[in-house]
Amino acid sequence: MTGAWEMVVGLEVHVQLRTRSKAFCGCSATFGDAPNQNTCPVCLALPGALPVLNARAVELAARAALALGCDVHRRSVFARKNYFYPDLPKGYQISQAEQPLATGGRVPLPDGSTVGITRIHMEEDAGKSIHDRFPGQTAIDLNRAGVPLIEIVGEPEIRSSAQAGAYLRALREILLFGEVSDVSMEEGSFRVDANVSARRRGETAFRPRTEIKNLNSFSNVEHALELEFARHVATYEADGAIAQQTMLFDALRQEVRPARSKEGSHDYRYFPEPDLPPLVLAADWLAAQRAALGELPAARRARFVGALGVSAHEAEILTAEPAIAEYFDAVAAAGGDGKAAANWILGEVLAARNAAGGAAAGLVVAPARLAALIALVRTGAVSSTAAKAIFQTMLTDGAEPKAIAERDGLLQVGDDGALEAWIAEVWAEHPDEARRYAAGEAKLQGVLVGFVMKKSKGRADPKKVNQLLATRAGS
């Protein structure tokens, strides 16, 4: 029945910025320390303590906004968002309201569609409330209180759960690319709230929306959207009405249910934060940030496909991580063969990195060396089989691939004399196959080449062996 209905979704994403210290104090912003260890007069909201904004947080927030195509405002103003909660020490969150850092971006998706960004503002995180540790008590850990965030408010332009997923993946990619955040939903550095409504296709007005919180994975987002959309549609089809309210997604039970709070009771009483003067960004500073950002992933993918000859799918994988994309660029530039470079990276290079422990293990072989190895294969100096063996050696050996090939006897042998000698030996050792081949049983050529390759320990140039065998059969 949902065919007559259209999903309308706007996403609000909170992203933790990758800083060493918190947004407004000198406490460490790291995770996993003993509870409340990373707290000070400022983030404990002791009487008389004052916030001072972290310059790096501003830089990362501006970078994210620029990468998402937003207008970053020369002047933005922090505001207090007032509410009581035990993990919010000051009784207000320092955020931005009427004058946010940035407005008006647009995120391109792989299917050619785009999703608009309404605004990006800076704010601070709250602490953590742990409800199940001590009976009858909630335990408060303020290590996270004051960690810098940006909130990315998207336009309600998303029309399917798949598009929502694509949008979030695009956001993640851009934020990773800009080294703005770790972007881990599991660790809470990328948190998604979804505003959902349904309307009949063709309707132009929006119907009441509900907000789903607690979405802690991309698949949960898509699943929760489908569930909630179906609920809206079913309600409308039964002539019911949807009330504007907050919903929680229960990942364990895979269900969306209403949060207990009474909606409409919120009155955050935003007003400009008097402890912080307006944030003023110099025009040349902004220009430098924009320049330093470099090529965005989508542009880079287009270049990989257009100028370097890789497939769209390969380009996708190559740009999934900035480090891989940069590595690919370097290898392709050094060797002049994008296609071969892509094959090597998507094959041997990433396999080796995974075997060594994933992204942290890094890309060991220097781009110039890998390019040199690719060149050895292209000129026929080594076989592709031998090249794989050489690559394995290169992971632990700093020598040039050519030197390794020579030392390990892996250079391809193309000299007619040497090849003829091996062929003669094979001819003598396998008289039956030799006779039948000479008599015209052409399919045996492969078998004989195999024997030669084996005898040469893989060094024989298979193309030449084939030619010489054909000549011998024909004589």
């Binding site: 002791l46 009487p47 008389g48 303590a49 004052l50 001072v52 009581f84 020490p89 007003f271």
Partner: protein, 473 residues
């Protein structure tokens, strides 16, 4: 009869300590004796809430070596409680130190005690202290003013030549006028607010009391300066304040007519007229000027200050520190704690501030007040752009009123009518004794441009030179 060392001024005390003519502990002992004497009996002045132990490591160097200082109870010190005159912070000892307190300590000063105040600096009489009011040393049936009434009374009683107070709408200048001492509110941003418990952040500032203009200038110079822990602290060049008396030749002083309304207490007007004469005699040119939005200052102030206070006082929730009254669930705990911890005036201002910020009222009250605040600020800009370098006004409409005399909240607010404008505009201002009426001190106010404390003190030294003997009589 020689003047006791304690009454010779901070610089003389410090010189005597540095030159080992007297030990800091002896000076402290003398100050402590004054404290006990003035606090004795049912009409003791009750200026000090907590009293320090004699310094164990007696300072022997620094511009305030061995000088006893009193600090308002809303400025964080490491050694004595910082209760802000509130039950909710009873016995609270700060785990960190305010920048201004540190600067005094590093200059060699000995903290003698933390002083009484209206709860969270909300009031003009100290009657809103949870620990009972202070009394005016000149007439113990009268209020010392507020909210920094304890600091003003401590200096007036000779316990300390210098004290720190804080201002949001006149809380240093008004009690200085009532107690016959010098009270300085530096330019907003001149002195770090780090460690000053916030009432209304865009208006708050640490101020200084001195027995004399020179003591006040010395202490203000010491506590001034940029602080990386306060984003509103200004990175500006220091201003010379301790410049000593001199002529006012070439100086143009504006006298804003809005500060001399028909309703002004005639005796206060008379003292101001004499002060004007004195300024003229010192070489200044006096000019009639207008600050046309002055009458809007109190309404603007009583929207902005409560609005900011409603957020600033949200941290007192019983979760991390301070008073906590258990209740059935978190909300009950919050409400019980805050009901028991806050007094009536604080409650009233939180309600008012929450109301003016709440949905549907923000534009009519808070936004409007911010706009009018800009008009008040531009009044000062215009008058200073017209060639006037300083302004002279009365500090308060009346001398000290009797304790208990004012019960209507708004009537009490009006005692700040001449002082709130400087806080709204951020300009420096100070009160200097200019005489007495029936034994009660009268204060004259000097205002100057942003960060021009030098000119302000120039006028203050001249006024003191001309009227000091009379004012001290």
């Amino acid at each position: 009869m020689t003047v006791p060392l304690l009454d010779q001024g901070a610089a003389s005390i410090a010189a005597a300590v540095r030159e080992a003519r007297v030990a800091a502990v002896e000076v402290f002992g003398a100050a402590h004796g004054r404290l006990l004497e003035s606090h004795a009996g049912p009409d003791g002045i009750h200026a000090v809430l907590s009293t320090a132990e004699p310094p164990t490591v007696a300072p022997t160097s620094g511009p305030l070596a061995g000088v006893p200082v009193a600090i308002k109870d809303n400025i964080a010190t490491l050694t004595l409680p910082t209760s802000c005159g509130s039950r909710i912070l009873e016995h609270w000892v700060s785990p960190y130190e305010a920048t201004a307190a540190r600067k005094l300590r590093e200059a060699g000063a000995s903290l003698i005690g933390k002083t009484n105040m209206d709860e969270f600096a909300m009031g003009s009489s100290t009657e809103n202290s949870a620990y009972g009011p202070s009394r005016n040393p000149h007439d113990r049936t009268r209020a010392p003013g507020g909210s920094s009434g304890g600091s003003a009374a401590a200096v007036a009683a000779g316990i300390a030549p210098i004290a720190l107070g804080s201002e949001t709408g006149g809380s240093v200048r008004q009690p200085a006028a009532f107690c016959g001492v010098v009270g300085v509110k530096p330019t907003y941003g001149r002195v770090s607010r780090f460690g000053l418990v916030a009432f209304a952040s865009s208006l708050d500032g640490i101020g200084v009391f001195g027995r004399t203009v020179d003591d006040a200038a010395l202490a203000t110079e010491i506590v001034s300066g940029h602080d990386p822990h306060d984003a509103t602290s200004a990175a500006v060049e220091p201003a010379a304040m301790r410049i000593g008396p001199g002529t006012l030749d070439g100086l143009v002083i504006g006298v804003p007519r809005e500060y001399f309304p028909d309703s002004l207490d005639p005796s206060v007007r008379e003292r101001c007229d004499r002060a004007r004469e004195a300024l003229r005699a010192q070489g200044a040119t006096l000019r009639d000027v207008s600050l046309p939005h002055t009458d809007l200052a109190i309404p603007v102030y009583y929207i902005i200050a409560p609005a900011e206070c409603s957020a600033n006082l949200a941290r007192f929730d019983g979760v991390r520190y301070g008073m906590r009254i258990e209740g059935d669930g978190i909300r009950a705990m919050y409400e019980a704690t805050r009901a028991a911890g806050f007094g009536a005036e604080v409650t009233r201002r939180i309600l008012l501030g929450t109301y003016v910020l709440s949905a549907g009222y923000y534009d009519a009250y808070y936004r409007k007040a911010q706009q009018v605040r800009e008009l008040i600020r531009s009044d000062f800009d215009a008058v200073f752009a017209s060639g006037v370098q300083a302004l002279f006004t009365p500090t308060t409409p009346t001398p000290a009123f009797a304790l208990g005399a004012i019960s209507d909240p708004y009537e009490m607010y009006l005692s700040d009518i001449f002082t709130v404008t400087a806080n709204l505009a951020g300009v420096p201002a100070m009160s200097v004794p200019i005489g007495r009426v029936g034994g009660l001190p009268v204060g004259g106010q000097i205002l100057a441009r942003h960060f021009d404390e030098t000119t302000m003190f120039r006028v203050a030294y001249a006024l003191e030179e001309a009227l000091g003997a009379e004012a001290a009589r």
